[in-house]
């Protein structure tokens, strides 16, 4: 059977898409899919936006409606209340619309539930099963069959009016009288709240988000501060290779003769060239916010992908939240810990190692802990997390010494520290050079164990002087050697075939991950360029098979912002490292 579908292979090839392709192809050839009545392309969308905007709705109404939608909170301060599955009354966050229809309004296709999209063009336009949406839903996952049939049997209905919509929300009957799935709550809403909610629904999912035009989708990557030029190069090589590859595919697609006109209509329109903007921040971090804002104003981007930072990442995080730009997986050890809506990180960075060590030490508390760290961001964050996470009884038993950044520590420093002579656990947030004088000090036998950070050592296993053999442990937030995921081989092959060197591998793999997950999530959008929907796709995809293996396990979910969540504590032995602890998730 030939439907001319395979040539959308750019994206389909990448994951379980064959099934979706076949399914959709069949639908197409059976002609079961009527035409779409959805606002298409940017211009139509904005025209439609105007035509569906509710007359008389004020900004305040829309904001109040949004609170109902996203937080389940009425303007009166009361929680939103609704009944699901016939007799289960839920309230507040449990029945906020965003929980099921998601912030984007595009719904979900979770295993057990098909939640319809309720973006304005859908609600206030006639609903016919939309090819693009079907593709999206089918493609997203290999769904249980129950779900597939639900998606396919989408009912047809006419456009809602505000009155029929209110009836649907209260009684669960749509404007054709069809009873909505019992999973869709029946809401108790007063008229004012209903009007506010509907005013917000009129604005939901109208048009494309900034950073997309008819030809291109714009992305940026941020390089913040005094980064190692070799790291910068490694990251940029992967970014550029990926963009080149992506654009070559899109180009081939656009050039391709023999699109069926039908096809040209739908998917062809979704194709956009990828444009990369590199935003380099210089000077003091206090000036970065303005630099970012200026770059954004000059060229709004749809999302930030990857990136590299030495030191703080806060100004970038704040831009992402302020401008509602998805920021995917920068290479930084200093992500902002407060959960944001738009900033997704690979791992909690320094903090996770300090906190994991605290958990480890709490499981078999040593009698005395001496911590030494240098006065710099990385070590301070490690130390702070360690202290925050230690049980109160332990906090009293830890003694901390802060030393200057520069001269390396001398024998006399260590001799002084070890004078007490009792069995001591050392936590040293220090580089490797400081270990050597320690090993020469009298009293070295009194050390029972030494904990160091693998990352702070520059991602290397230290050479342990023989006096300290068997006593050195590391916090280690990555997949263990030999713990490789299957995908690492594919990504390595990809990098090799682009003639990229094998050095800085973790950085390259992480960068590749950010790019490939962005690519996957974008495919699901088809032509609905909604940043929220994009983030929702990323949350969904993170747990799939894209993990290139730097971290043992990646997963996100609604409101989860760190894809890897833990760290090991490992023992340094002659043959390298072996786990001492379980994978600790503090």
């Amino acid at each position: 059977m030939s439907t001319g579908f395979g040539h959308y292979g750019v994206s389909i090839m990448m994951k379980g898409g064959a099934l979706a392709a076949v399914g959709l192809a069949c639908l197409l050839c059976l002609g079961v899919l009527p035409r779409v009545a959805l606002g298409q392309g940017t211009t139509t969308d904005s025209e439609q936006a105007q035509s569906t905007l509710q007359p008389g709705a004020s900004k305040a109404d829309i904001a109040a409606g949004r609170r109902i939608y996203e937080r389940g909170l009425l303007a009166t301060g009361e929680p939103l209340r609704g009944t699901v599955v016939g007799d289960v009354m839920l309230e507040g966050a449990q029945v906020q619309c965003a929980s099921c229809h998601r912030r984007s309004g595009f719904g979900t296709s979770e295993g057990g539930a098909y939640v319809a999209p309720i973006v304005a063009p859908w609600l206030f336009g006639a609903k016919t099963p939309d090819r693009a949406d079907l593709f999206r839903k089918l493609y997203q996952e290999v769904q249980p069959n129950r779900m597939k049939s639900k998606v396919r049997s989408l009912q047809v209905r006419t456009a809602y009016t505000d009155a029929t919509l209110a009836t649907a929300l209260r009684t669960g009957r749509d404007n054709t009288g069809r009873v909505l799935d019992p999973l869709m709550p029946r809401y108790r809403l007063d008229d004012t709240s209903m009007a506010q909610l509907i005013a917000y629904l009129h604005t939901l999912g109208q048009g494309s988000d900034p950073g997309v035009d008819d030809e291109a989708i714009h992305f940026a990557t941020v390089i913040a501060g005094d980064v190692d030029p070799a790291d910068r190069q490694a990251m940029m090589e992967v970014m550029e290779a990926f963009f080149r590859r992506k654009n070559a595919e899109i180009e081939a697609e656009l050039q391709r003769p023999g699109h069926s006109p039908y096809h040209r209509d739908d998917f062809y329109r979704a194709l956009r060239r990828w444009v990369l903007h590199v935003w380099e921040l210089d000077g003091l971090p206090s000036g970065w916010s303005d630099q970012l804002e200026a770059s954004y104003r000059q060229q709004p981007v749809f999302a930030l992908i990857s990136g590299l930072g030495e030191g703080t990442w806060k100004p970038v995080h704040e831009l992402c939240e302020r401008r509602r730009v998805p920021c995917l997986f920068p290479n930084t050890e200093q992500p902002v810990t407060e959960v944001g809506d738009y900033s997704l990180y690979l791992s909690p960075g320094w903090r996770v190692e300090g906190a994991a060590l605290a958990r480890h030490l709490s499981s078999a508390p040593p009698s005395q802990i001496v911590e030494v760290y240098r006065d710099q961001d990385s070590a301070r964050l490690l130390s702070q997390a360690l202290h925050d996470e230690l049980a109160p009884a332990q906090q009293a038993r830890i003694e901390s010494r802060v030393v200057g950044v520069d001269p390396s520590l001398t024998e006399s420093f260590w001799a002084d520290l070890l004078r007490r002579g009792v069995s001591t656990t050392l936590v040293l947030w220090l580089p490797e050079v400081d270990l050597e004088p320690l090993s020469r000090v009298k009293g070295v036998e009194s050390i029972s164990e030494i904990y160091l950070s693998y990352r702070l050592l520059g991602n290397t296993v230290p050479n342990v002087p023989s006096q300290l053999a068997e006593k050195v442990y590391l916090t280690y937030p990555y997949a263990l050697p030999g713990q490789e995921v299957p995908r690492i081989h594919r990504v390595r092959a990809w990098l090799r075939s682009r003639r990229l060197p094998a050095n800085h591998e973790r950085l390259r793999l992480n960068t590749y991950f950010a790019l490939s997950i962005a690519d996957h999530a974008l495919v699901h959008l088809v032509e609905s360029f909604s940043r929220d929907y994009f983030i929702e796709g990323v949350e969904h995809e993170a747990e799939n098979s894209l993990n290139p293996g730097v971290f043992p396990h990646l997963s996100l979910g609604p409101g989860q912002r760190f894809a890897s969540k833990g760290s090991w504590v490992v023992r340094v032995s002659n043959d390298g490292i072996e786990p001492l602890s379980e994978w600790i998730v503090p």
């Binding site: 009354m89 929980s99 979770e110 997963s555 979910g557």
Partner: protein, 228 residues
């Protein structure tokens, strides 16, 4: 090549996994035996037939009104020997959590789950006061790295869980093992299905309820299983 059959209840299905003639007949039979609407009693004594499949075809549509539909099969599952962590942060073996000689209800959830879990747990919450007083309920997180004991406590409070409702989390591998043992593992938590497992006594097999249930339906299931 797929063809789509529009079955009478409006659910398009795929041949091979569809409501074949025999299962339709079976459905009709079962319904006519006077079972409560919306439930399908498809007890196969060997418990083998559909391990691993999606149980499509077991669905019976009734009045598509306010109560949901679900399927019901009897299965024997062997709970693995793993140690989980309860909401207080204490290690608890799964077998201890399931060692209970009254009705036992089990669901898999996670605290950031968008559509499915609030409804699953909401059904437990609403059924709570109506269930026999010796009923134990167990909710196990399938996202244990995120669902720390304190997040589980918060979640429990959201649903006003009483003392006989346990919330368990643990190590990722262990939780995967548990899900696999109950044929509930779907690889990605976002693909998680609405399942409720019910057992009348420790010796009884599990009843697997697939789909959403109203509180009334759930209570009726438990009552029926525990009826003398």
């Amino acid at each position: 090549m797929w063809r789509f059959i529009q079955s009478t209840n409006g659910i398009a299905t795929r041949p091979g996994q569809s409501l074949g003639a025999s299962s339709l007949l079976l459905c009709a039979l079962l319904i006519s035996t006077g079972l409560m609407p919306g439930t399908l009693r498809a007890e196969d004594a060997d418990g083998q037939t559909s391990a691993g499949d999606e149980h499509t075809g077991h669905h019976v549509t009734h009045d598509p009104g306010s109560s949901p539909r679900f399927s019901r099969v009897v299965r024997s599952y062997r709970a693995p020997d793993v140690t989980l962590v309860d909401a207080a942060g204490d290690p608890t073996s799964l077998s201890a959590a399931l060692r209970h000689n009254g009705p036992l209800l089990l669901q898999f959830i996670f605290t950031t789950c968008p559509a499915v879990c609030p409804v699953l747990s909401g059904t437990f919450a609403a059924a709570q006061p109506e269930l026999p007083s010796d009923t134990r309920m167990v909710s196990i997180s399938i996202d244990p790295e995120h669902d720390t004991p304190s997040r589980m406590r918060e979640y429990a409070e959201r649903f006003r869980a009483g003392p006989s409702w346990l919330f368990l989390t643990g190590r990722l591998e262990d939780v995967v093992t548990v899900q696999k043992a109950f044929d509930a593992y779907r690889g990605n938590k976002m693909r998680h299905e609405p399942l409720t497992f019910v057992r009348a006594t420790q010796a009884a097999p599990w009843v697997r309820l697939d789909g959403f249930l109203s509180a009334e339906q759930l209570v009726a299931e438990v009552r029926r299983l525990t009826a003398p």
